[in-house]
């Protein structure tokens, strides 16, 4: 009897250990994938070799409100995985003390291919992106030197940084490299569209999706170019200037009038789950977005050439286009366990 009990105990232990080994927070797979047919990534991996420890450190930092002045706000406050790492239902994101910014938080995925960051393209490198939300007074309102001091005073982080970079002093370089190791792994290439494109068994467009795809290719594909669904340029897409926000976009960076009202062309991947839309989140749904392109374009000297000619779509065209855009949702990415918060485990 006693012996039997022991057996059961052993079996239970094995089962628990077995389950633990399947838990993704143990050793996440951090192999970066360049999907077949995609261009070469822009991010220089040679300057920041991906490691499991670096990824896990970046993950801990991404979810940690310690980065904000009063430990209230983390990166994940405005970048939630289920909505492709944007701030669902918030036209303008809010940070510390509920203060509002002037722009809609970006989705985060396929960042290794980005040639610039922010809606105005002002940031030139993935690693230099996080300094903005960390120090912006309406986001995390920290001083970078204070964050580094806090991290250096944390035995927990001292250990994590050492295991990632083998250095006992934490510097901003390691903070940024770690965050980049985590965020560069946000890869989205397993939507229905991808599976259909790869001719995977059991995946086919419906007749409506196929029609929507044709409409997309005819009207949207120049800027929202496949396979990344952006050509990474900055364009004026004919939005009226919001007189209160008075956001001139790229012109703020270059001081050049020819860049007035130009904003980054966002990827359309996961578009269905990442409302609201545009740099200031002015459109709540895809109907409004498509109506803007068919009937709302404001003509000005910097308007994208692609939009100078009117786009005409029937009600059915619009419906089919939206059905196609739905196929860009990548649930494997949106529910990838590697990108969850393990801060309290």
């Amino acid at each position: 009897m006693k012996r039997k009990k022991k057996h059961i105990g052993f079996a239970l232990l094995t089962a628990i250990l077995g389950m633990l080994s399947f838990m993704p927070n143990r050793e996440p797979d951090i192999k970066f994938v360049i999907p077949k047919g995609w261009p070469k990534p822009v991010y220089n991996f040679a300057g920041n070799t991906l490691t499991t420890n670096g990824f896990k450190l970046g993950r801990a930092l991404f979810f940690d409100p310690l980065l904000s002045r009063d430990s209230s706000t983390s990166c994940s406050s405005c970048h939630l995985q289920f909505t492709a790492f944007t701030h669902v239902d918030h036209s303008l994101s809010h940070g510390i003390n509920g203060l509002k910014g002037t722009r809609n938080s970006s989705t985060l995925f396929n960042l290794a291919w980005n040639t610039s960051f922010m809606w105005d393209g002002g940031v030139n490198h993935l690693e230099m992106q996080p300094i903005n939300p960390i120090t912006n007074p309406v986001e995390m309102d920290s001083k970078l030197e204070d964050v580094i001091l806090k991290l250096n005073h944390s035995p927990h982080y001292k250990k994590l940084f050492y295991s990632a970079f083998q250095d006992s002093v934490i510097t901003s370089k390691y903070l940024f490299k770690a965050l980049a190791q985590f965020t560069v792994m946000f890869e989205s290439y397993n939507s229905k569209y991808d599976k259909v494109s790869r001719k995977e068994k059991g995946f086919e467009f419906t007749a409506e999706e196929q029609k929507g795809y044709a409409i997309f290719q005819k009207n949207c594909n120049t800027c929202h170019a496949e396979p990344l669904f952006t050509n990474h340029t900055l364009k004026n897409n004919g939005l009226a200037l919001d007189p209160e926000l008075n956001d001139v976009g790229r012109m703020k960076i270059t001081q050049n009038r020819e860049d007035s009202l130009k904003f980054k062309v966002p990827s359309l991947r996961n578009i269905t789950v990442s409302a609201p839309y545009m740099h200031d989140g002015r459109f709540r749904n895809l109907d409004q977005v498509i109506s803007h392109y068919t009937d709302g374009i404001i003509h000005s000297s910097t308007l994208a050439t692609e939009l100078k000619q009117k786009i005409s779509l029937s009600a059915e065209d619009k419906k089919n286009l939206i059905l196609f855009l739905n196929t860009l949702t990548d649930k494997e990415f949106l529910f990838d366990m590697r990108f969850r918060n393990y801060l309290n485990n």
């Binding site: 220089n44 300057g47 920041n48 922010m118 002002g122 940031v123 030139n124 490198h125 993935l126 690693e127 230099m128 300094i131 903005n132 120090t135 970078l144 030197e145 580094i148 510097t171 901003s172 370089k173 390691y174 903070l175 940024f176 490299k177 980049a180 960076i253 270059t254 001081q255």
Partner: protein, 263 residues
Amino acid sequence: MNVLKKYSTINYGIALLFSVWCCYSFTNAQKPITAKKNDQGKIILKLNLVFNEQALLLGNKAYINASGDSLIVDEFKCYISTLRFFNSKNQVSSEPNSYHLINAEDSSSLTISVTKIPAGNYIGLNFNIGIDSTTSVSGALDGALDPTKGMFWAWNTGYIAAKLQGRSKKCNTLHHAFEYHIGGYLQPYHALRNIDLKLQNLKVESGKTTVIELKVDVAEWFKTPYLIDLSKTNNVVLPNKEAITIATNYSDMFSVSKTRDPF
């Protein structure tokens, strides 16, 4: 006929000599100097910060700029990068990983020590004020280039090449403050400035130290070629036309004031 022939021979000769000289100078241009490990010395650059002929003191001393306006300097910082020393054969000794942040508040930043310089005579010192574009697009960096040093633009990525802040009654701003954050690595607002200074056959000897004293005259920011009027130009904090004007102004703020032979 004979004369013509003679001339053409001379011409050929000149052409030949010219091409040989071209090849020679081309192969020699900026060729790194090779030296044995035990045949290297050290150069120490000592920077003396001044405003006109007076020592630069932060916070309370009043100086007069070229427009005749009284001003106080509260902060002065600047990047010196890519230090190179040339000998008479146009060969070069470059400091590896050469980024130095000069800060008027930190006296230790005013002494730059460059080791492993091949022994020999040097006639030129060359460096940049600011950070080159390749480095500016290289992602997260540390040391002098750590963004915590306060010389980094976050929202419009790039390093501030030089910073001058202070106060003047002439400025119709909050607390009469003026702020110059000069930088930019993209055209048309490229603020990097290359500085070339002559050295009088500066000797570097094996195992010894040679000292170069540099005068850094902050008054040059306001002077030539563009006279700065503090009532109009008092807030330049991003890469633009005014920033380029000031960068051109300060590109002659460095001069060699004294050298000391190896000891």
